[in-house]
Symmetry: C2
Subunit: 131 residues, 2 copies
């Protein structure tokens, strides 16, 4: 059976999108959350490289296309009510546009949002612009 079987099981929202969690497959680290539409899911499964839908640019977003920080798909899972995807990935380098491994680098501690991870690379190195 083809990818249509999967797409039929996904409950897309009114904009035709579904949130996708990217998790590093071996360490379990939650890296980021982004959105996928039908085309992004189909392309990801066809190529093995994770492709999202950029809501701001309104176009397919091949993760790492600009920065080189691509995600190779290891497994794709769907939750019980079909409205969230979990992508197990091999993350090349960092996932966050700030140069941090994970986008979840702020933690509520003692009444303030503490920064719990430092950038591993500069935004300039990722995108060729000053950070």
């Amino acid at each position: 059976m083809g990818v249509e079987t999967l797409l039929d099981a996904v409950k897309f929202d009114a904009d035709g999108l579904v949130p996708a969690i990217a998790q590093q497959h071996d360490t379990g680290e939650v890296l980021m959350v982004a959105w996928m539409n039908r085309d992004a899911i189909a392309e990801t499964l066809a190529t093995g490289r994770v492709c999202y839908w950029s809501r701001s640019r309104k176009s397919l977003w091949r993760k790492g296309e600009t920065s080189g920080q691509a995600q190779t798909l290891v497994a794709l899972r769907l939750d019980c009510d079909g409205d969230t995807l979990l992508l197990l990935v091999e993350q090349a380098g960092v996932a966050c546009h700030t140069g941090r491994r994970s986008c979840f680098y702020r933690e509520w501690q003692a009444g303030e949002l503490a920064v719990i991870a430092a950038p591993e690379v500069s935004e300039e190195a990722l995108y060729g612009k000053p950070s």
Copy 2:
């Protein structure tokens, strides 16, 4: 500073909600995704027990109130653009209403959605109704 500092940093959607990923703090297992509003976040931080917002019931949803499968908050993290929460939790029993540990129990394998985890408890045991 109080919880208002955190709430001001969260970008709630048009319905006043933000998605929250629950992850078992020590194993890294992604358990479920649900929604929180300002009151749910404030109650969770005040009590240390995770409280979501039920979109279907339009009320606060104290996870485990019916089933006993509560989540104790270990840490609350916010992503780079402020529109997704990551809750590190200690999950009592199972997270999924189907009796499975995680809601992400279906995986796309060889052209079909394979069920990769069995229920650990019956829905009847969780909710007092036939499964």
